[in-house]
Amino acid sequence: MNCIIIDDEAAARAIISQLCGQAPQVNVIEEFPNAIQAIKFLNQNEVDLIFLDIHMPDFTGFDFIETIKNPPKIILTTSDTNFAIQAFEYDCIVDYLVKPISLERFQKAINKAEASSVNASSNSSDKVETTSGNDLYVNIDRRLIKINIPSIYLVEAQGDYIRVKTENKNYTVHSTLKKIKEKLPDSIFLKVHRSYIININKIVDIEDNSVLIKKDIIPVSRSNRPELMRRLNML
């Protein structure tokens, strides 16, 4: 699980990071001294787990949770036991660690987060988009709208939303690239950049590190380029 740590106290961040180092399931990718910086990071990056301090100046841990639309799993870390009841009103909170955090208690919280991730992924097909044969149903304004999958030529990440572009119409859906990718057939769809999935049948041309799909020029990240080239029927 890729995780970030948000705590205004450097000693607390160091301790959590050290504890994570002893848990092979967890990989700390970033640490933040305040919630605002973390929100900016999460606008561009996905994480599986957040260690979140509640008691921070200006912007508390609960403010943070209220601000982000699709929070990942969160383990609260606090010196205060008074927020436990409030904490469990949020589905995303999987555990509540009281500082100072022991290694044993930390490991238990990680196990809970891991178990919770398994449950979440096994249910995910019911929550986001549903597919039926060649169609994908997306939830827009409480209506399930059918999109013909082969007509999709581009999916673009836009913050907490994705933009699904088809031959006839474009749709903005509250979801993530990761979720929609699971619903699209790998045989014709490929993630070429952290913000783009393309239909490889709709490519017009490829130039250096970009592809032209209809009239959209889409960047191809260096790590995804070999797979794109492998998938093309080259002469």
């Binding site: 205004d8 106290e9 450097a10 000693a11 607390a12 160091a14 301790i15 050290q18 504890l19 180092g21 002893q22 008691h55 100046p57 010196s79 205060d80 500082k99 100072p100 955090i101 022991s102 290694l103 930390f106």
Partner: protein
């Protein structure tokens, strides 16, 4: 009076002495700054802000194994939120105790 110790730090370090030194270094850096902010807020009679500072300092008190002091700090934080400074002198003793200990590290 109870004395600060490194029992907790050693218990969670996994035997990593470099980390133990790093953490003590961080505490030595952070603690005086947090105390200074606390003292400023006390001098300005900004007791709610001072309560926040005490809250933050509580973690370091607990890291250094000061259980009784932690309980005092907890009561003091509540008192400050109610505008009472009744435990101020006791908390000053705790700050001094930690500062003296950190000087030896």
């Amino acid at each position: 009076m109870e004395q600060p110790n490194l029992i907790y730090i050693k218990s969670m370090s996994g035997g990593n002495q470099a980390f133990e030194q790093k953490l003590i270094g961080i505490i030595k850096q952070e603690f005086p700054k947090e105390v200074e902010i606390y003292l400023t807020n006390m001098s300005l009679k900004e007791y709610r802000k001072a309560a926040d500072n005490v809250h933050k300092l509580k973690h370091k008190i607990s890291i250094l194994g000061l259980q009784k002091s932690y309980a005092i700090a907890q009561d003091y934080e509540k008192n400050l939120l109610e505008g009472s400074t009744i435990l101020e002198a006791d908390f000053s003793d705790i700050i001094r105790l930690i500062a003296d200990f950190l000087e030896t590290q």
